[in-house]
Structure formats: C-alpha cells, structure tokens
Amino acid sequence: MLRFTATRLVQLVVICFLISVFAFLLVHLLPGDPTLAILGPNDTPAARAVLLHQLGLNKGLLAQYGTWIVNIFHGNLGASFLTKQTVTNALSVAVPIDLELIVVSQVLALLVAIPMALIAALRPNRAFDRVATTSTFAMLSLPTFVAGPLLVLVFAVTLKWVPATGFNRLSQGLGPNLKSVILPSVALAIGSITVYYRLLRADLIATLQEDFVTMARSKGLSTRYILLRHVMRPSSFSLLAGAGISIGTLFTGAFVVEVLFQLPGIGFQLVQAIYGRDYLVVQGMALVAAVAFVVVNFGVDYLLTVLDPRVRRA
C-alpha cells in the first residue's frame, strides 16, 4: 500500500506543479492588465507605472512566478489587486459553498440514479427501463441555466418554500442553510443523474449475468440481499470513476448555478477575477480547483483498490 500512496504523491506534486505553471502563463497571456481595471478611464501612463510597481507586476514573469510559489509555501496565496481581499479569505467564502453544493447535488444524483439503475437492470428493455432511459436523456438535454430558473420560478417565487438566491452559512442554522442550497443542488444534480444512471445500469447488467449471481440464488438468498451485498460492489467501479471526474470538474463547473443563485463559489470568483485581470486570485482559484480535482480522483483510485481486491496488487 505504501508504494501505491508514494507513487500517487509524486504524481500529485508533478501534476500540481504543471497546473500552477499552466494557470500562471495562461492568465498572463490575457490582453490588458489589472491597472486598467483599477484605474479605469483615469489610467494615465504615470498612474499606471506607479500602480504596476506597487503591485510588483513590473518584474519579469519568472520572478513573479517565483515569488508566487514561494508565497504559497508560506501559506500566503496573495491578495486581490482590486478588493485588497486575500485569496485565502476569498477561498474561505468560496470553498464551503462549493463543497456543500457538490456534496448535496451528488448525493441527490446518486439517491435517484442508483435505485433507477437497479430496477432498470433487473428488467432490461422492459417498461421501466425504457421510461427511465428516455427520461434521463430529457434531463441531459435540459441545461442547468434552464433548470435553475424553472426551479426558482416554481419553488421560490410561486411556492415561497426556499430563497431564490443567496447562501445562508451553516452558522445561521442548518434549516436556512439547506434551504438556500437545495435548488442549486437540484439544478446541478440533474446533469449528473444521467451519467451515473447510464454507467451503473451498464455495469449492473454485466454483473447480473455472472455465474456467482445464479450461485447466490441457488443458496435461496433474497433478490434484495443479492443486489445489495453481491451485485452492487462489483458494479460500482465505473460509477465511482464517473463520480470522481464529475465532482472534480464541478469545483469550477458550477459557475452557471453560482451566477444564477448568486453564490460566490470558486467558479464565480474565478470568472470575476479573469474579467478583472486579478492575476493572483485567478492563479489561486485555478490552482485550488485543480488540486481539489486531483485529490478527489486520487481518493477515488484508492477507493477502487479497496473495493476491488483483485486490483490491489497493481
């Protein structure tokens, strides 16, 4: 096991280094610079020179990258040129929002997709399977930015059950917190249900054709027991891999929902920082999102070796 984690750690470091270089270069490719965003029309050459010096942007790219990386190791991700807010502070606002959005939406997606897949796999090509498959396509062709407004129209505006926008932090009580997160999570979950349903259904059908299922039946075990204790585990591998990727990409992929529901998550602040040429915030957010993705997927890889003893030797 140690060798497994060791190679993974090395890969993690290499990948994060590549991503940090990638993020840094990309952002500095953007035409224009933060002085324009700060000074606006009063961007006289003199004022610009002063500001560039203040922000340390007059140094060479390599030097800037160097200072950025050194700061990171000291735990200082730098601050926004515009709002003077430290990136860590912005993250302390963004990460809880994204984490909660991702956890609630993916749990919802799994709670819907798993039972559906089980029933569909038990009777492939029968009525339920056909209906479920078609309805998942309907969900797939319903973009988040259509699902969001529809949900708000029904549950917030007409029924007034939940707030239409905004994020109530956990400190304001679980009830209000969940209420503020439920609509964006459902909008996000709709996209994931289809992927999870199709992955799980395909694997379940394959597993249900294995001999050990007939063996289990020949022991007189109930269908429910066989499904949960024998069939689920070997069929959940690609589902897990799918979850890893979908959770990873949601860190920045949820920006549409974050805009619609005014939730300043990582995607939201990343987009804003790009528009404002707020280099340090962009680099900080991009790096954190990327590291989160890598960590999540390495976690999934580890979980796969735990779930499938045959893989452990690899």
Binding site: P31, G32, L36, A37, I38, L39, G40, P41, N42, D43, T44, P45, A47, V50, L51, L82, T83, K84, Q85, A90, V93, P149, V152, L153, A156, V157, K160, V162, P163, A164, T165, G166, F167, V259, L260, F261, Q262, P264, F268, Q269, V271, Q272, A273, Y275, G276, R277, D278
Partner: protein, 554 residues
C-alpha cells in the same frame, strides 16, 4: 462630477463587481440646481392610499431589512474605490455627504452646516456641523475634512477629475475649511453631494483600508463578504437624533436581473434596485409592491450608441448622420423598453430647463439615410462598414442586433460583436472602437458631465471624452454653463450644448435608463428622507438609495 458612466449589463457582477472601471470614479447624484420645472413624473400610478416609498402612520423602531442591489463594489475608500449606484448606496449607509440634493434640485447642507461661496464663487467655505463623531468615536473636525479632500486630490482614481474643480484646501477654523477653485464653479455644492462629498474617519483614511469603513453615517459595519452580503447595524449616537429606525440592514448584491426579481417575489429580499424594464412591467400593477421610478428632475442616465469621431468611417459627419437617420428609435425602444422606457433624443430629459424646444436631432428617415450612405460611400472604399459592439448582456445583445439590422436596411454593413468588460473600457478609453452601446450622463447638474463632454479632454492616447469630438462652440457653451451664476444664461448655454451635440452627432440617443427601486409593503418610507432644515430630499435617483428614513411595518 458626472454621474458614473456605469455599464448597464446583466453580467454586472462580472464587470462592475470587479472593475466598475467605467465610472470616472466620481459618481454624482444630486439635484438640479434650478427649481425643477417638473413635468409629469414617470412615477408609477399612485397606490390606493399612499405614494410609494412614503411611510404610512407612525414610524416603528427596530427590525431589519434586506436590500438587493444590482452590483457589488470593490471597496469603501472614496479616493480609491469605484462608487457606482450600489457603491453610493453603501456609502449613504455608512458615511454622510457634506451636502444632499433637495427635492427642489438644490444642494442643501447635510453633514456640513453651511457651504458659502465668496462673491465671484471662486472660494467656498464649508463649516461642519458641531458635535458629530465617527463610528470609532473620533470627532468630525476641519483637520479630518482637509485630510479627506487632499486624499481625493492626490488619488490616481479621482485626482484628474478634481483637477479642473478644486485647487487648494485650507483649514480656516476648528470646524471650517476654505476651498479655492481653479475658476468660478457655480455647481460646487453639487460636487459635495457626490463621491467627493463623503468624509471618512482618519483611522480608515491613513490606513487606506477599503474593507473596514468607519464613517459618521446612520449604520456601522458588521460584516462585508464580497458578492454575498454587507451587514450593518444601527449607529446609536447618529448626529440625526431619532434616526435610523431600523436595528440593522443587509445588502445582497444579485447581479442577475431575473434572480434579483425572483428574490424579491420570493421574499428573500424586501427591497431591490433594478433598471430592467421587464421587472418594472411585471410588478407595476402588483399591489404588494411599491415602485419608485427615477424622479423627472436633474439628468437621468441615457442609453445611447457612442461613435468614435476620430476614426474612419465614423469620423465622417455624413456617415454619422446616415447612422442617426437609419435608427428607428421608437421601434427600438418599443422592442426593449417593455413599454416602460421612453425614447429621448436629447442629453436632457423632457421638462428640463436645459432642453431646447427643438435641438435639431435627426429623426428616423430611411430614405434620407440611404441617400447619405450613397453620398458618403465613395470616399470610404465604396461601402460603409461599421463594427458595433456591446458587453455581454442579453438585452443589449438583442438591441445591438436590432440596430445592426436597421443599419443594414440603410445599406450599412454592420458586424456585431460581444466584448468583455475590461477590453470594452480599454477600447473606449484608448479610442479603439467605431460604435459601442453606452449608458451615462446621469447627474443632478449638467456641469458634472463637463469632463465627459469637453473637447479639452478629447485628445491624447487616453481621453475621458470617449467620442473625441472637438467642437469649439460646445466648449464655450460648457464654460459659460460652468461659470455663470445667472440661471437664464446657464439654461441657454446648456441648450446650446444639446444643439451642438445634435449637430455633431457623437452620441446617437435612444432612451432614458429605467432606474427603479421596488419594495414590498413590509418596507416603509424608503424614499422619504427629510433634510435637517425640514425640507424633503430628492430621494431615489439613478439607482442610489438612502436607507436612513426606512422602517419595517410588520
């Protein structure tokens, strides 16, 4: 100073929150200097029993209100942060301005006890109100005011705009300061009602801290989480005794117009500021909500297409005339005004003293437009090609496509493009554009727009007069308007400005912006500020609120 040239866009959070670079840094809200000859206001039809925004019955103390704004600000430093309409609303909550514009349009003393000019209006003496303290307990005195003024003069953001106005600032007494101007500035009190009029505590000024504001205003800071909320609580020793009524306030910036409207209708917020005509149309006839539109006083923000007069083909006046004649403004506003916005082919709103009877602005005439295109085409390589751009906003994108098809009918090949905010502003400032949509010129006194219109700021690599039109007659009219104290002469001067703009056509006018504040019936008295001298303030204008008089009914 001129009202902020803020951008009307649905992606306000994308742009304004981070950059609001569009604002000159000086956003003015205030009142017309003359008694407004007030035409029928475009306020919503009167409610059953009360006018919207005016409280009924005795004010109730306590409770909190949540207000949804259309954008987030980037800080609380008047000398470094961009105060768009949301910025000014935040500032009105935590700070006070030296003067506030009254319902009659004149700038009345507020934090300042008096603002007195010398005979030729070149030296203005501001005397502060005694016994006023900041939230951190420090006293308000002449030293603090001088420090504030000097900070504004030296700041990269506001310095250039103030150069033409304020020359030197000197303390003349414990509570009085003398400001000498470069030239007679008739509308100086109006400047003190804009971003430069806010006075912040020495502690915040010296540390240049833009996230922890300390002011003299009705509420003091509790917590500011950018793009999420600003929480403030009642300032118990506010210098206006008995005010404010509320215990606290929460501002929530919601950039999506649709989301903000949904938040109001779902009760997530109690009051909102919007400029989306659809929202106004939806809620106008709904008895649960009070709608307060822009007062028909002073100058409202104008929606228009700005043409770059320093670059071909828009440098050719004939082309500009063709473009003006080709736009069917009535149809355009009907399509996008949701029946709320009104076409307004002038710098000034209808009923304003500065609006000439007929400013000669070209009306819609497709045949004439075609003829002008044919006339101008030979000296532009045989055909007129215009690139029309806007920022990422669904209504503006549709508007731009409509204009493009109208110009197409007149034979002008138009390409439409969408540009994100920073590049948009950069192109405006550096003149790398032909035709852009734009929205600005909201101000309580025409002089506040001097820096945007004056040919003196039209040259050099970076020009504040984006259209870069150089018209001497326009400059003389602006100068007389700025320096004469005779109202009749001033009116004639600004009428001349409007006529010149209609001749030179740097701006193709469309309609007045439909600013509106909408509150549920729970929120009372959100547009009924009374000044210390007992008279009524102008109140909500160009998207700026003052929460001081608000109370909660339930």
């Amino acid at each position: 100073m001129a009202d902020s040239a803020d951008r009307y866009d649905r992606r306000a959070f994308l742009t304004r929150g981070a950059t609001t670079a569009a604002a000159v840094g000086l956003a003015g809200v205030g009142l017309p200097s003359l008694l407004a000859a007030c035409g029928s206001g475009t306020t919503a039809p009167p409610h059953a029993s009360s006018t919207p925004g005016i409280g009924i019955g005795t004010p109730k103390r306590g409770g909190t209100v949540t207000i949804g704004l259309n954008s987030e600000i980037d800080g609380f430093l008047p000398s470094a942060s961009h105060f768009d309409n949301s910025g000014l609303t935040y500032a009105n909550t935590i700070f006070d301005t030296l003067t506030v514009v009254g319902a009659d349009g004149s700038a009345k003393p507020y934090l300042a006890q008096s603002v007195v000019p010398n005979t030729d209006m070149t030296v203005w003496t501001i005397t502060l109100r005694p016994g006023v303290t900041f939230h951190d307990g420090s006293p308000l005195n002449a030293d603090v005011l001088v420090a504030n003024m000097q900070a504004l003069q030296t700041s990269a953001l506001t310095g250039q705009a103030l150069r033409g106005v304020v020359d030197t600032v000197a303390k003349t007494g414990d509570l009085s300061v003398a400001v000498t101007c470069a030239e007679p500035i008739v509308a100086f009190p109006h400047y003190l009602a804009t971003q430069v009029g806010y006075v912040i505590a020495l502690a915040q000024l010296e540390s240049q801290n833009s996230t922890k504001p300390i002011g003299t205003g009705p509420f003091s800071l509790v917590e500011w989480v950018p793009n999420d909320h600003l929480a403030v609580t009642r300032n118990h020793n506010y210098w206006r005794s008995g005010l404010p009524y509320l215990d606290g306030l929460t501002y929530r910036p919601i950039s999506e117009d649709q989301s903000r409207e949904n938040s109001l209708r779902s009760g997530t917020i109690d009051l909102m500021v919007t400029r989306d005509p659809d929202a106004i149309r939806d809620l106008r006839d709904n008895a649960d909500y009070q709608l307060v539109l822009n007062p028909n006083v002073g100058q409202g923000d104008m929606d228009f297409v700005i043409l770059n007069t320093s670059v071909a083909p828009t440098s050719d006046i004939v082309v500009r005339q063709a473009l003006a004649h080709a736009i069917n403004v009535d149809e355009l506003v009907k399509l996008f005004g949701a029946g709320i916005a009104k076409p307004n082919l002038s710098l000034f709103p209808p009923g304003s003293p500065y609006r000439p009877a007929d400013n000669g602005y070209p009306t819609y005439d497709l045949a004439k437009a075609k003829q002008l295109v044919a006339q101008a085409a030979p000296n532009h390589g045989g055909s007129i090609k215009i690139s029309l751009a806007t920022i990422t906003d669904p209504r503006l994108l549709n508007e731009v496509q409509a204009i493009a098809s109208m110009w197409g009918l007149a034979g002008i090949q138009t390409t439409v493009s969408e540009i994100e905010q920073v590049t948009f502003i950069d192109n405006l400032v550096t003149g790398q554009f032909q035709a852009y949509t734009d929205e600005m010129f909201g101000a309580t006194d025409p002089d506040l727009n001097y820096v945007w219109l004056s040919p003196t700021t039209a040259n050099g690599p970076i020009a504040l007069n984006f259209a870069r039109n150089k018209d001497d007659a326009l400059e003389t009219a602006l100068q007389t308007g700025r320096t004469t104290s005779d109202q009749a002469v001033r009116a004639k001067a600004y009428q001349q400005v409007d006529k010149r703009l209609a001749q030179d056509l740097p701006y193709l006018w469309a309609s007045l912006a439909t600013w509106c504040s909408i509150g549920s019936n729970v929120v009372q008295n959100f547009n009924n500020l009374t000044l210390p001298d007992g008279s009524k303030a102008l109140g909500f204008s160009n998207g700026v609120l003052d929460p001081t008089p608000v109370w909660r009914k339930d």
